[in-house]
């Protein structure tokens, strides 16, 4: 369960998010303007803040900047109707952790919120090895093993698997993969990510009894422990 604060002036959009998130078992508070949002964010502790960029009374970026200046490092997901690369850069510079242009699919929002909540606290080191089932990724040795089998990975495949395993058990969307593994910010019209995933699957899942890398229809992918 995550405690989430939604700062968004569009009541409809806000309620839609809150409802969706609580159906997933999270607790979502709502604030309708920048001042109220800042107050709530400062007075209680949240796992993730969802902040709209354009807010009445106090701009979304200013809310984030103020929080960061007062030492509050709660992960922030910025929502914005401005989807251009430079707007994104501005948002991240102000202290945002992720940027989602409107309109968005709810699965995308969910995946990003959950990914943010699981992010290691700033400054903290990431784990050096990831383990899902019998799949082990050693980030220091840059090696990958499943059971007793060494799996040779291309650098990009390694990065892809690393990102998936970092968010093991959670859904990551194609856009998240493109942004975090390839550092591209666009919406591909082709199934380019699927091809990379299927190659990776061919290496880590093919020939093994249990499948670890799953496709979540309409959302993205997840890597998780076999559930038996």
């Amino acid at each position: 369960m995550l405690r989430i604060l939604i700062i968004e002036d569009d009541a409809g959009a806000s309620a839609y998010m809150a409802k969706g998130l609580s159906e997933l078992g999270h607790v979502a508070d709502q604030a309708a303007d920048g001042e109220q949002g800042l107050e709530l964010a400062q007075s209680s502790s949240y796992d993730v803040l969802i902040v709209d960029r354009m807010l009445p009374k106090r701009d979304g970026l200013s809310v984030i900047e103020t929080l960061r200046q007062t030492g509050n490092h709660t992960p922030v997901l910025i929502l914005s109707a401005l989807g251009q690369v430079d707007d994104r850069v501005k948002g991240l510079k102000a202290g945002g952790d992720d940027y989602l242009p409107k309109p968005y699919a709810f699965t995308e929002l969910q995946a990003r919120v959950e990914a943010l909540a699981r992010r290691p606290k700033s400054g903290g080191d990431l784990e050096t090895t990831y383990k899902v089932g019998d799949l082990v990724l050693d980030r220091l040795a840059h090696s990958c093993r499943r059971g007793d089998t060494d799996i040779p990975l291309q650098p990009r495949e390694f990065k892809l698997l690393e990102y998936l395993m970092q968010h093991a058990g959670r859904v990551v969307t194609r856009t998240m993969l493109l942004e975090n593994v390839w550092e591209y910010h666009f919406d591909p019209q082709t199934n380019v990510i699927d091809v990379h995933i299927s190659r990776l699957r061919g290496k880590i899942d093919k020939g093994f009894a249990t499948q670890l890398l799953h496709t979540i229809r309409g959302a993205g992918y997840t890597i998780r422990e076999p559930s038996n």
């Binding site: 390839w182 910010h185 591909p188």
Partner: protein, 481 residues
């Protein structure tokens, strides 16, 4: 009167007046200086002559006494263009010389200074009042010797010079006035021309352009710059108009379709499955509408960008390799291939994000339309340095685009009939073209026989230390194994 004030208020007139007065002042000063110097030089010459004569006569007196002196004076006085001489005894009576009358006090001043005096000269036809420079020298025995030089010639010369100078001054003033009036009239005419044309353009004729005389002067440069500005404004206006037209047409079509689907579902949908299916279609339609909208906004935004924004040296070879790395598995899975033919580490001045976006667009375009039936897609992404430009191209082996259509496909929403069956909105190449134009070039489509080459070029970055951080591209740390 009105006309006069209009003329006097122009910058050209004020400038002319200023120039004429400054020029006149300088000329007058210069002429006065010349006059003064000439005069001084003449006086110096006279003084020298007089001194030489006095010392010669004094020698004469020492050697031969008064008699020799008088003889010498008489002899000298008879020569043409003679100097002035006067020898007096201790009582002041004239003994010899060619001077008829002098102000008497002059002879008392025997301090050896040279001075200007009025005198009367003995000539063949009587006495003539003249001016002279004289010096008086006292000899032993109370005799006084005066030697001088008539100033008639010098004065005449000075008068001539003065007259010439005055005339010269008048000519200068008139000439400069005429020149300046001519120049300013010309200048005013051209400025008025520019003002007139710009007024016409302001009244709505955006296609109007200022006249360029073609002589590369500052007015031409001004007119050319203004014309470029107008060009850009017109382009932006047209872009704006295109966008609104497009929104009206190409966004309304899917909206209408969506509406009718919803309507049909409402009136005819009986089961939940029917309604679900209708909603599903609607959702997809919405997504594509959003995509079209984003693409249109992005193109409009790129077209409105200042040319320098976000431009920096970018390792364009690496950008290409990185895009190729993303897409090559997709092609390989179909039996095709994506090869990179790039000079290593070519750095170009460009906006890395936008260039990546265009490369992706070109590759996705090729994936969608660049395929022949029964033949796997083979793509080549090339990057070569050509002089101070970097040529970047994507070549496929597909059906290509007919020459007649090559310009048309760069416009928004233009899709060739052959590709109507494929998903897409006809905005990909428009975006590429907008980016190419932002970088001072344009998208070049060429027949690759068979296939299509899409090429754009960028400015080569000047060579500098290679250790500069590669932070501009999307490819933060390229991990090429």
């Amino acid at each position: 009167m009105n006309r006069l004030t209009r003329v006097t208020r122009t910058t050209a007139f004020k400038l002319s007046a200023l120039y004429i007065s400054v020029f006149t002042l300088i000329s007058a000063f210069l002429l006065a200086y010349i006059y003064q110097n000439t005069n001084q030089l003449m006086s110096a010459q006279v003084t020298q002559t007089v001194d030489a004569e006095i010392s010669g006569l004094a020698d004469e007196y020492v050697r031969g006494g008064v008699r020799a002196l008088v003889e010498s004076i008489d002899r000298r006085a008879r020569r043409p263009d003679a100097s002035l001489y006067l020898l007096t005894d201790f009582a002041g009576n004239a003994i010899a010389g060619n001077i008829a009358r002098l102000p008497s006090i002059i002879l008392d001043e025997t301090d050896g200074g040279i001075r200007r005096v009025q005198y009367a000269r003995l000539e063949a036809d009587g006495e003539v009042e003249r001016q002279a420079l004289v010096r008086i020298f006292e000899l032993r025995g109370g005799f006084k010797l005066l030697v001088g030089r008539d100033l008639g010639d010098e004065q005449h010369f000075a008068e001539l010079l003065g007259g010439a100078m005055r005339l010269w001054l008048v000519v200068i003033v008139i000439m400069s006035a005429v020149t300046w009036l001519f120049v300013s009239r010309r200048v005013m005419k051209r400025i008025d021309g520019i003002a007139e044309t710009s007024r016409r353009i302001m009244h709505g004729d955006l296609s109007g352009r200022l006249p360029v005389a073609g002589n590369q002067d500052e007015f031409d440069r001004l007119a050319t710059n203004l014309n470029d500005m107008l060009e850009r404004i017109e382009l932006l206006m047209r872009g704006m108009k295109d966008v609104t037209d497009n929104i009206a047409h190409d966004l309304k079509t899917p909206l209408t379709r969506m509406r009718s689907q919803v309507e049909t579902a409402l009136s005819e949908g009986k089961t939940e499955a029917d309604l679900r299916a209708a909603l599903d279609t609607t959702l997809h339609e919405t997504d594509s509408l959003i995509r079209i909208f984003d693409a249109l906004l992005r193109i409009a935004r790129i077209e409105a960008m200042a040319p320098e924004s976000g431009m920096e040296p970018v390792n364009i070879s690496r950008l290409i390799e990185s895009v190729a790395e993303l897409y090559s598995p997709l092609l390989e899975d179909e039996g095709g291939a994506l090869t990179v033919d790039a000079d290593p580490d070519v750095r170009a001045i460009c906006n890395g994000d936008l260039v990546t976006q265009t490369l992706v667009n070109l590759v996705e375009n090729a994936l969608k339309y660049g395929r022949l039936e029964n033949e796997p897609l083979r793509l080549v992404m090339a990057c070569h340095v050509d002089g101070d430009r970097v040529c970047v191209s994507v070549t496929d082996n597909g059906p290509g685009i007919p020459k007649s259509q090559q310009d048309r496909v760069k416009a928004r929403f233009v899709r060739l009939d052959e590709s109507r069956s494929e998903p897409g909105y006809g905005l990909g190449l428009s975006l590429v073209n907008a980016v190419a134009r932002l970088h001072g070039g344009q998208l070049l489509l060429q027949d690759a026989g068979p296939g299509l080459t899409a090429q754009m070029d960028f400015k080569l970055a000047p060579v500098e230390e290679n250790n500069e951080a590669e932070d501009s591209g999307n490819e933060g740390e390229a991990e090429r194994s």
